[in-house]
Symmetry: C2
Subunit: 134 residues, 2 copies
Amino acid sequence: MKKATMASDAVEIEERLGFKPCAPTGVLARLGDKWTVLVMSHLAVAPDHRARFSTLKNSIEGITQRMLTLTLRNLERDGLLTRHYFTEVPPRVEYQLTEMGSGMLPALESFTSWIRENWPLMEACRRAFDEARQ
Amino acid sequence: MKKATMASDAVEIEERLGFKPCAPTGVLARLGDKWTVLVMSHLAVAPDHRARFSTLKNSIEGITQRMLTLTLRNLERDGLLTRHYFTEVPPRVEYQLTEMGSGMLPALESFTSWIRENWPLMEACRRAFDEARQ
DNA sequence: CCGCATCCCCGATGATACTG
DNA sequence: CAGTATCATCGGGGATGCGG
């Protein structure tokens, strides 16, 4: 399996480095992908860390049904949330953060907090850099 | 410019959400890309947060010259590091974290720390999930 | 309502070869 | 040593339609 190979490669790299600020690249890449953080954020503020598919779909601007499904499936696979299927008509599906999922929120918050604080400066740096190259 | 449009879209989304765990998706995506965190990590532990191109190239397993150049250029553009060019023969180029770049390390550490702690559990969850689907 | 399957495009990344 | 240019590749992700 290609994916598993790449993941374990990343782990090896991390272990070889042996210092703190590093972490499995694959996880960071996954969590930093286009939609994951947004989904986690919406579940973070939802009552009981729980929301249904259509709610998430409508709350997250621009996400397609396909990408929401894929993102949720990945998070479920990682054990960060669980899927609750209700056999009703029409069907209802709810997603809820697991203990591990909730446990990630403080760390995520610390990182996103830094980003929020430094975002304006980064934007300014980018503009300056781009302008210097016309 | 397509990229700028997408970035500002992300900002709008963030502002509309108005809660804490969220941050500009673009930044997280950039920092979570294949090489950025590894480069930041290596600079984090380098003397004076400073290292030359070839050192980084040799330290980071698997990175190509091209991708290291691109990653460094992006980080420079974001204002997270500065480029020091020495006109010698052969030429020497050093990269050093800026104040903002160094300021990111604690937040990064908090996040990567969580990942390191929960990585084994996530791996187990993935295996269980994959096995359940054969 | 939920989500899977299919098609398709484009950007990200790698490989390689070439300059200052 | 550091960086650029070019070409090939691969996977993310959007659009759409079908199925349970």
